[in-house]
Amino acid sequence: MDIIEGVIGFIALLMVFRIFLTRSRARKLLYLCCLSFCISALIALYVKSPMGGIVAIIYFISSTLTSNAIAYTIEQVKDIE
């Protein structure tokens, strides 16, 4: 096993457990952003070809779009609730 993949995988597993256990909504988004970095790096290290890089870039940008929409909705809903 390569040492770089081992370090990235350990950080990703830690982030998954912290997302599941945290109560606050805004802090879950921060951990989700870190998990998205880890998965994007793991995809590029698993598929060793330029197409894997394109997949990693498109996945990261759409994940950021999702986080943006969720944070906007938390700000809007806070007044109504």
């Binding site: 081992g6 599941f20 995809i43 698993y46 894997g52 498109i58 996945y59 969720i70 809903v77 109504i80």
Partner: protein
């Protein structure tokens, strides 16, 4: 086993349990994003790269539809409750 398979499997199991166990809808939508991370990891680990691109483009569309629908639904519920409280005062 490969390291991507292990991370994706843990994401799927914890995401599926999290969607059921949380009760606030925004928490449920965040956990649905976690489940989608596991799906994309599994698709990539069996080398279907084109389907991975389609899946990661379709994820924000579905999430935005659910979030807009939740805001409209919440507004409707709250308006109904306030309207029902105001009505007897108006009728007197």
């Amino acid at each position: 086993m490969e390291i991507l398979l292990i991370v994706s499997g843990v994401c799927c199991i914890l995401g599926g349990l999290g969607v059921i166990l949380h009760t606030n809808p925004i928490n449920k939508i965040i956990m649905l994003g976690l489940l989608n991370v596991g799906l994309i990891g599994m698709i990539v680990s069996s080398y279907y790269l084109d389907i991975a691109i389609i899946s990661s483009i379709c994820e924000p569309i579905s999430t935005i539809i659910l979030l807009l629908g939740y805001m409209k639904y919440l507004t409707t519920l709250k308006k109904k409750k306030k309207y029902g409280r105001d009505l007897p005062i108006l009728s007197k």
